[in-house]
């Protein structure tokens, strides 16, 4: 990459002396792509702006059920709950929906399995969420819990795949670089 930057400078310098009807003096070629800033290290313990402690725990569990850690971190490891807290705290409709949704989740957990949501096994948690997810996938989300699940899933996907963890580590984003030439296909077809 370094050599590409050098060559850009040279091309720019030579080019500037060429006859060109609208030639400018400035060299536009001196260019570098500094690496974007490393992620800020969250100061611990994190204080959510909107969610109460128990709510934040349940939200974190929900997000990690939607995008779990595999070979790469999951939603919690990528800081998604923090992102959701920021989005929700700024929107009255979301605040109402999340408070009610998380309340419903614990009530339903206790009713069916006798425990709060975060205390359930992963199997039970998945069992609770599956019908909500199916309704969303079939585009027939009608009830408040179904809408709540849809919004949590959307925000989790948004937050995860715009994070460095999601975009670079998980998906392997490789762009935003300086290429001397546009590459031929490197896939095996």
């Amino acid at each position: 990459m370094e050599s590409r930057r050098e060559s850009l400078k040279i091309i720019g310098a030579i080019g500037a002396t060429c006859a060109f009807p609208f030639a400018a003096d400035e060299l536009y070629g001196q260019h570098a792509h500094p690496p974007s800033r490393p992620p800020a290290v969250p100061e611990e313990p994190f204080q959510p702006m909107f969610f109460k402690k128990a709510e934040y725990q349940a939200l974190s569990r929900l997000a990690d059920l939607i995008i779990p850690p595999t070979g790469t971190p999951g939603a919690v490891g990528a800081g998604v709950p923090r992102y959701i807290d920021q989005v929700v705290s700024a929107n009255a409709e979301h605040r109402t929906r999340f408070r009610a949704g998380l309340r419903w989740l614990d009530r339903e957990s206790k009713k069916r399995f006798g425990k709060r949501f975060v205390r359930l096994t992963e199997e039970r948690q998945t069992e609770l969420l599956a019908p909500l997810s199916q309704a969303v996938d079939a585009r027939r989300a009608r009830t408040a819990p179904e809408h709540f699940f849809r919004v949590v899933k959307n925000m989790t996907a948004d937050g995860y795949y715009t994070s460095r963890t999601g975009l670079v580590e998980e998906l392997g984003y490789a762009g935003n670089t300086v290429l001397a030439q546009f590459p031929e296909c490197l896939h095996e077809h």
Partner: protein
């Protein structure tokens, strides 16, 4: 001290105003460009290389902190929309200029391809357009820099389209594929529409206006929001009044000739605001046609995954966004509508994974399905030509004012039957081509949306049905011109900016010639 009288005042500094002003300056004409927005240093002002995770809310703002704003509506900055365009550059053809003569619908242009061809040549020499000479009669070749290679995914689409007898060609863009002058070749960082910070992509500020300043004939007045074109008792345009973008102080410049190049909707708005006793319904509006014949392109969209690429490793393939194009083919086939459509595709970048929301399920399988499809995601955006209709127009909403106290422009559009038919057919064909390329379709737009605003100051020979003549001069005021997309009598399905720039170069010749003859 008597105020300077410029030869020409150009309102607007985008691709049209910028091209026009630079050409005039090089022709020895004294030009003042009045631009509502600030000067933008394209090398430092934009968040060109930012990533979403650089920002807590994951939204990448257009400008860096502390850089003057870049409003989307009335004030955009010196360079206008060329700062953030995608640089696609097609020549229009005889079929685009003479649509009515060919299929009986819409309107003909009063000019034809040979009138504009030499100006396309000029513009291509100046700005540098990369592309392949394809020899297609409806997409004339020009003076091209070498084309940029297609992406792997483009070639998959190309093979699928070929099975249906449909051509996929290299895109043509006003982006350098080889270094020229002070500008380096594109380095394929994939951020074109965030603002190119090396000027490999054309923008009117760096490529046209800045060099033209050296002629000593051009002055640029940024942060000056034009609110009125002044017309004398003798029916001559004599200048413009404007407000300072920040202080709201009033200003005025005088000129022998005035050109309105504020981009389609804002050009119409400026003329509508410039009322007088002679022109009570807006300047140059004796026909009542000002604002009418608004014909933006309409687009749809298909999102899909190319099965051939599902599960492959992610590639650094953002390139300079779209590298290929499906030129219109339906105009050569049997169909039940007038005009046609073309398809832009594969111009998504890989920083945006919004489609992940719509993948079914949750948990490990959900996460895995997104990872597998990430390298295979591709969007198709067909663009159709809208026909003018009575319910589609631009007017002013005096009930809503911007921070300058000026009424907001209002866009009204209703899709006609022909538009609906094209929309339906272009969506159907998009899906068909993608299926033929082995794609898994994720979503299909159900309704058209608009892009590429055109029309409102129709060019024509009849002063009763058009606003400007074939030279972009208003029928009503002999030294007032409108030069931008608003003059297009018909829209074609092709990206329009290259044609606006050729029109601007042509208008510059007309204006300089008339000044020389003492007609202004």
């Amino acid at each position: 001290m008597p105020q300077k009288i410029y030869d020409v005042l150009v309102a607007g500094s985008g691709p049209s105003g910028g091209t026009l002003a630079a050409h005039l300056a090089h022709l020895g004409v004294d030009v003042a460009v009045v631009e509502g927005g600030p000067v933008v240093d394209t090398r430092t002002a934009f968040n060109t290389h930012a990533m979403p995770f650089d920002f807590p809310n994951r939204h990448i703002p257009t400008m860096k902190p502390g850089v003057p704003g870049f409003d989307s509506e009335r004030s955009r900055g010196v360079g206008g929309k060329s700062l953030t365009w995608n640089a696609v550059a097609w020549r229009y053809s005889h079929r685009d200029f003479k649509g009515r003569s060919i299929d009986g619908a819409g309107e003909d242009w009063p000019i034809d391809y040979p009138d504009l061809a030499p100006y396309y040549d000029q513009v291509e020499r100046e700005v540098g357009v990369c592309g392949n000479r394809d020899g297609l009669p409806d997409l004339p070749d020009g003076i091209f820099l070498p084309p940029v290679p297609m992406k792997c995914s483009d070639k998959i689409v190309q093979r699928g389209a070929a099975k249906l007898g449909i051509n996929v060609i290299h895109v043509r863009k006003s982006t350098l594929s080889v270094a020229r002058g002070a500008r380096p070749a594109c380095h394929f960082c994939g951020n074109c529409m965030a603002g190119c910070d090396v000027v490999a992509k054309y923008n009117s500020a760096d490529v046209h206006l800045k060099p033209a300043l050296k002629t000593g004939k051009l002055e640029v007045f940024p942060n000056s929001v034009v609110r009125e074109v002044i017309v004398s008792e003798e029916n001559r345009a004599t200048g413009a009044r404007f407000l300072h973008r920040e202080t709201l102080a009033e200003g005025e410049l005088r000129a022998r000739c005035v050109v309105v190049s504020c981009a389609c909707v804002q050009s119409v708005a400026l003329l509508l605001m410039s009322k007088s006793s002679r022109y009570p319904s807006g300047l140059a509006n004796s026909s009542g046609e000002l604002g009418r014949n608004f014909i933006p392109h309409f687009t749809g969209g298909v999102q899909c995954f190319l099965t051939e690429l599902i599960g492959k490793p992610a590639a650094n393939d953002e390139g300079f966004l779209d590298h290929a194009y499906v030129p219109s083919f339906m105009h050569q086939r049997k169909r039940d509508y007038a005009r046609s459509f073309g398809i832009q595709f594969n111009y998504q970048n890989r920083r945006s994974v919004g489609w992940a929301r719509a993948m079914p399920g949750f948990g490990k399988a959900y996460k895995q399905s997104i990872k597998e499809r990430y390298p295979a995601f591709l969007t198709f955006s067909p663009y159709g030509e809208m026909l003018p209709n009575k319910q589609s127009y631009i007017d002013l909403d005096y009930g809503k004012r911007d921070r300058f106290g000026l009424p907001l422009a209002r866009r009204q559009y209703v899709w006609g039957e022909n538009d609906r038919k094209i929309f339906h057919d272009m969506t159907r064909w998009s899906v068909e081509i993608l299926r033929s390329a082995g794609a898994e379709i994720q979503s299909v737009s159900a309704e058209p949306s608009t892009n590429h605003e055109l029309g409102g100051c129709r060019m024509g020979t009849d002063p009763r049905t058009s606003v400007v003549n074939a030279g972009c001069r208003t029928h009503d005021v002999p030294n007032l011109y409108v030069v931008d997309g608003s003059v297009f009598p018909s829209a074609s399905e092709k990206n329009p900016t290259h044609t606006m720039m050729a029109l601007a170069a042509r208008a510059a010749d007309h204006i300089a010639d008339r000044l020389r003859k003492g007609e202004m």
